[in-house]
Subunit: 336 residues, 2 copies
């Protein structure tokens, strides 16, 4: 087992070099643990937090069982503009299912979806987008739904970057996820998207297994079908994983308070607050989308990842606000 | 990392010996991986299941990520008669809280609790016992509740065995838990009791961490209290972790179908069914309480751990029914 604290008296470079292959060492003689992050307050805060919570000689040392870091997904780990990927998936699914649902033609939100009118759905906010998402899950078993998601991710392309959504992930955050794990942390995703939309691919893309994915859930029934016990999702909301709902849901799964939290919108406010108001060392980071050239620039005035309270209170709450424009030397893993 | 499959061509004895300290080897030259289990069908089924799912040369080999085993708690890992431990805890808590709840004196179920009339509560079934349990949680933060549970477990004694409840755990099942983990399985507890009643002690007693504990949950609110984000449990049921509810809840946390399940009552039926009707190698085990001398003898005619459908269908479902009387050479870890 790799134990970073054994190396606590050495430099970061020595620490990282000890865990990378020879070829990587030769290509990168001065290994930077977060190579896509420019030097700055957030990078320093992350590295210092990891050092002090894993060095046995630190008064902030945390045992491995307490090393829990939580991450929002949309806008924190991958792109969420111009509309959440799951809503695009749901719109495609609604189009495919429309022949079976004659009532949809008379409902405004489904009309927008069937016309591919994303602007109307965004304008309709969580209520409109949520209606489409719930409809896309209805009457599916998890296995069936996972296959639909996996198939969609292979063919769908982001409208601006013309690339798979799973390639529109933030390289700096992938580095943060892997660095936390290298220091003995477990990394959990806590998303406003549905749990079952994430589970098919987070292991492969982010290294986060299905049981460390928490999201919005739908009511589900259990019954026998053709000799096999099956869960079937209903098109009804069970629990919205947003705002205070993220705290309730993450605690239901985790049973403990995380010590580090990363988010980008006011929907992550309570999760960061719950995390950083516990005793002992804490880290809260908000990603600020301020780079329209390389990604998107938005905060207070959007229905997708609105960030207002978070920006206003970050300093008072001791949270780092990370500027994509200034802090990230690279945005995406696989293009740009 | 210990990888049992590396030793798959060797005997069980060699495998186990390789992971135990020298002193243990000398004291027990022919190491038995389940020393409190007598030779029999269930022991054979467990050992064969572990061998075939972890031997790389087996057609039933499972990768570590698929190795998930789920265990009921009451009556499967520890004693549940003459009444669930959590109900005894809740009765004690209701007595302590009674001065703050003048309305309780006029409600029959609280009258029974305040009089310590356990027989009435058992007779009232899940509804009566559940009412008392919900009341014991109400208006508590998880931290406060955990401390109450921990304190209670130190002082409370089982009425027949005159020992701590955490000493009234089944030694054969502790051996099963640790053996599964030695073979790379993750072991989850899926209990009809509340999640928060279990989380303070399952790590220390069973080696199961808080995030692998699934139970009945209460509605919970989040708010700031004295500058600290706090969850507060309400005295209302959110999700009963029993029957089909166990399947819904375990899947919400796990995101995959377990491959092995252990239970003892009809409340575990659907969990065993869901587990054993998946594809590939499967193991379902029901513990049958038939030993009134050393523990308790009960099945069809009880409100505590009723086992009727399970007994009737076990053979058809391919589940092992384990007789405590015949299969367990020792029942408890710390007495008898």
């Amino acid at each position: 087992m790799f134990r970073p604290h054994m190396f606590s008296r050495r430099s970061f470079a020595a620490l990282l070099l000890s865990s990378v292959p020879i070829a990587a060492i030769m290509a990168q003689p001065l290994a930077d643990p977060l190579p896509s992050w420019r030097e700055g307050a957030t990078k320093r805060a992350i590295l210092e937090f990891l050092r002090k919570t894993t060095s046995r000689d630190s008064s902030d040392y945390l045992p491995p069982s307490a090393r829990i870091a939580v991450f929002d997904n949309d806008g924190t780990l991958w792109v969420e503009q111009p509309i959440y990927a799951e809503v695009v998936f749901a719109v495609d699914r609604v189009k495919a299912l429309a022949p079976l649902h004659s009532d949809w033609a008379s409902r405004e939100v489904f009309q927008a979806a069937l016309a591919g009118d994303m602007a109307s759905l965004v304008k309709g906010g969580l209520r409109a987008m949520g209606t489409i998402v719930l409809a896309s899950h209805a009457e599916t078993t998890p296995d069936t739904f996972h296959q639909l998601v996996s198939d969609w991710l292979i063919t769908a392309r982001h409208p601006r970057f013309h690339d798979r959504y799973t390639n529109c992930i933030y390289q700096p955050m992938v580095e943060v996820l892997t660095l936390f794990r290298a220091y003995g942390y477990r990394t959990w995703i806590v998303s406003g998207g549905t749990t079952e939309f994430l589970r098919p691919w987070t292991q492969g893309i982010f290294g986060v297994p299905p049981d460390q994915v928490i999201g919005t859930t739908l009511k589900t029934t259990y019954s026998m079908r053709d000799g096999r016990g099956e869960l079937v999702q209903l098109g009804e909301l069970e629990s919205l994983d947003e705002g205070a709902g993220k705290v309730v849901n993450l605690y239901r799964s985790l049973g403990q308070r995380p010590v580090a939290a990363f988010g980008n919108s006011d929907g992550d406010y309570e999760m960061l607050q719950f995390t950083t108001t516990g005793q002992g060392p804490r880290l809260g980071v908000l990603i600020h989308h301020d780079d329209g050239d390389r990604e998107y620039a938005y905060d207070r005035d959007t229905n997708i990842g609105k960030l207002d309270r978070g920006l206003a209170d970050a300093a008072a709450n001791g949270w780092s606000v990370s500027s994509i424009k200034n802090d990230w030397s690279r945005v995406f893993a696989d293009h740009q």
